[in-house]
Amino acid sequence: MIAYLARISVKSVVTLFAIVTVTFIATRLSGNPIDTFLGDGLTAEGRAELIRYFQLDGTLWQQYVAFLRGVVSGEFGLSFVDRRPVTQVVGERLWASGQLLLASVTLTILVAIPLGILAAIYRKSWIGSAVMTVAFAGYAVPSFILAILMVLVFSYWLNWLPVVGNGSFLHFIMPTIAMSGVLVAALTRFTRNAMLDVLGQDFIRTARAKGLSEARVVLRHGLGNAGVTVISVIGLQVAGLAAAGSVVVESIFSWPGIGQLLVNAALIRDYPVLQFGVITVAVAVVAINALTDVAYALADPRIRLARS
């Protein structure tokens, strides 16, 4: 098990290094931030001075080395906009995003797994078809459309729910649902397929031959086995999709999280914030993936014992 954990750690570090590098290159490809901040009316000397001040005067390679040095020593620089440390700028957004992510993933699991099981058991009746039709439709609707529709109905027409910010429980409802829509659709379909696969196996017949009730056959023997794959999908795909979705959803609902911060930072080319924001999200996703690997191993004795 220790060797297994070590391998996961090494894998995670390599992934993070790749992400850090790609982030650096991608931000530099999008143009000069100074022109964006200040626009016209700047003298040549003033411009050169600003470029020096923001340490944008070296070659790309020099900037990259300085950037890596910063990453290793934990120095991620100051925001171009308000000259505060980016760790602070991003840090104060972390909790808001974390809350939304947690709420969405929880909602997704609570809705999608029971639906997927139902769809598998009743695959030949109208219940199964209905679930899958809804799931298919959910998969096709982008989160921003769902978000805008909800705002239109529940805020503009009915005036039930607040649109902007994260002040109360009511503020959570629409962003959470908007984030969860696609996730529920994906996880329902996956759970259904995993359950169908397992319910067709020989050991399910053995369980029935013992005289076990249908509920126990499906939940203990069926979900007990399908759960192993469902866990890995929750970790590997749902977490990734949620991170991506948060960028869109947070912008729509002005949710003070990292997604919204990243969009703004990209628009004004605030490199340090953008870089550190992306790194933070990447660390979160990589950490969730690593935890998934561990959970997967714990859930499946074939993996756990082979690697211990």
Partner: protein, 553 residues
């Protein structure tokens, strides 16, 4: 074996049972009785309706898309019940308690994420209300009863930690844990090696004597019937052809079909092809060793699958390679074809060393050796029409152009005894035996000098297996092709092989002409293999002469 009281009430009584799958009628009005302490063998080929009958008794057939369309299944004893009309709750109370079942595939019939103890505990909690320590005690006792070594430790193990034989013992222990009135065993030894099969058969017979249950034993192997059954029922296309006491039925089979089945069953001493003395050597393997794992990044040490093996194959000769699963016989075949890279040793094919050749240089040589695999269902691409499937190797080796493929396919199908109209059909339209013919036709398409048949008849029922081995022998006679015939069943190997090599744990322990190996085996393992083959003649296997083999640890 038992004293059947003809006057005693049957414990299970099936009357006019009809089972349908959609529009197909699988069982057409079947009636039979089983009494306490009796073993009734249900014999038939795949598709005869024997498994549908077994699953109907537990009403599990409904889960597989079947339906009991008529008839009755009555369970006798103290609490009689008509299974066909039982409500679900009463049916569940009966399953696993009064009627239990052991399935064919021990590798997949246990839940992989639950410990053995937990799976056995479920049955005990359900039918006996036992939980915690008493349940664990009862489970341990049940494992002891099936003679599993270290029962205490097994309770905390998962199925994948056990061998196939041990898993089947666990299945049996689980089925017998509530001391059922009726045990249904659906081909419980088909997936096992002959030596393991002998142990399991013996175990079931002993447990039956101890516990006095009735056993419905489903099989396609008449050798097993002779060994275990008191009475036999022969089934074909869902209809009972014949029923009788085992000894009588073997002595004077009434139905033609029973006689055919008996003729098709492999048995030892049927006569093997005479050895070819001066055949020119087509394949010579020396000191071949193949290892798995153990690389620089590997977490486990290397396992040696094949250890210092030397074999020779003459033109027109068949070498039978026998051994249990996991002994390395498939790895040996794959190493010869360099589908697996051997670690050391030399391979000389038609006078050319092919070990060490690059992939490109190897390609023309590959055409000389073709393989036929065990599972004819998995080894044909379902989306490829037969004309393309059988000519694909020749096409890939550029031995035939696109325009001539059809003509070649027709010729190949004719050579394996398939009708010409098979050419435009797809694999799912054929039976297992026919598919294996298609696989052989595909192997023949490149005019190979050697055919490697890796358990090529193991998945087929006896009649089909017999037809396929006959076909292979015929092809050999006509084309002079050499064969490496790999099987765990020494009786099947005998009828096609000029010579036999016996393999144990990666090494060849004995090689010789077939007659000599059968009549004068030198190695103890060869003797053990021979002893484990079920004899067709029930009179010839009194209890004392049955193989007594130790339980593997």
């Amino acid at each position: 074996m038992m004293q059947m009281g003809a006057l005693e009430q049957p414990i299970l009584s099936v009357r006019d049972l009809r089972v349908t799958f959609g529009d197909t009628v699988a069982v057409k009005g079947l009636s039979f009785d089983i009494h306490r302490g009796e073993t009734l063998a249900l014999v038939g080929e795949s598709g005869s309706g024997k498994s549908a009958t077994a699953l109907s008794i537990l009403r599990l057939v409904e889960r597989d898309g079947g339906q009991i369309a008529g008839g009755s299944i009555r369970l006798g004893g103290d609490r009689p019940a008509d299974i066909t009309t039982l409500p679900p709750a009463a049916l569940r109370a009966l399953r696993g308690d009064r009627v239990a079942m052991v399935f064919q595939e021990p590798m997949t019939s246990l839940n992989p994420v639950m410990t053995v103890g937990a799976q056995m505990g479920e049955t005990l909690a359900l039918h006996r209300g036992l939980r915690g320590r008493p349940a664990r005690e009862a489970a341990r006792t049940a494992l002891e009863r099936v003679k599993i070594p270290e029962p205490q430790r097994r309770l905390d193990q998962y199925p994948h930690e056990l061998s196939g034989g041990l898993r089947q013992r666990v299945m049996i222990a689980m089925a017998l844990i509530c001391e059922p009135d009726v045990l249904i065993a659906d081909e419980p030894t088909t997936a096992l090696d002959v030596t393991t099969q002998a142990e399991i058969l013996r175990l079931i017979a002993e447990l039956q004597q101890d516990m006095g249950m009735a056993v419905l034993f489903i099989t396609h192997d008449l050798g097993i019937v002779a060994e275990i059954a008191d009475r036999v029922m022969v089934l074909k296309d869902g209809v009972k052809l014949e029923e009788g006491f085992t000894a009588n039925l073997f002595a004077t089979p009434k139905a033609d079909y029973t006689r055919q089945l008996m003729a098709a069953s492999p048995r030892l001493g049927e006569g093997a092809p005479a050895p070819l003395d001066k055949a020119e050597t087509v394949l010579e393997v020396r000191g071949l060793t193949t290892r798995y794992g153990g690389g620089m990044l590997s977490r486990t040490p290397a396992t040696t699958a094949v250890q210092d093996v030397s074999i020779r194959l003459g033109r027109g000769e068949t070498l039978g390679l026998v051994g249990e699963s996991g002994c390395g016989k498939s790895t040996l075949a794959r190493s010869i074809m360099r589908l697996v890279e051997p670690h050391s040793g030399s391979i000389k094919l038609l006078g050319t060393r092919i070990d060490g050749l690059s992939r490109a240089a190897l390609k023309p040589h590959r055409a000389h050796v073709q393989m036929v695999f065990q599972d004819p269902y998995a080894s044909l691409n379902p989306h490829m029409a037969i004309r393309d499937a059988v000519t694909e190797p020749a096409f890939l080796h550029r031995m035939v152009g696109q325009s001539d493929r059809r003509a070649l396919a027709l010729d190949l199908l004719q050579r394996v005894g398939l009708p010409a109209d098979a050419i435009d059909r797809y694999p799912h339209q054929f039976s297992g035996g026919q598919r294996q013919r298609i696989c052989i036709a595909r192997a023949l398409s490149v005019q190979p000098r050697i055919i490697v048949a890796d358990e090529a008849v193991s998945a087929l029922d006896v009649s089909n297996a017999r037809r396929i081995t006959d076909l292979l022998a015929e092809i050999q006679q006509r084309d002079g092709v050499s064969m490496l015939f790999i099987s765990h069943d020494i009786a099947v190997v005998e009828r096609v092989s000029h010579r036999i090599a016996v393999m144990l744990k990666g090494e060849i322990v004995e090689t010789g002409p077939t007659d000599r190996i059968l009549n004068d085996p030198q190695h103890p393992y060869t003797r053990k293999l021979l002893a484990a083959v079920p004899r067709l003649d029930p009179a010839a296997t009194p209890d004392a002469a049955r193989p007594r083999v130790p339980v593997p640890t």
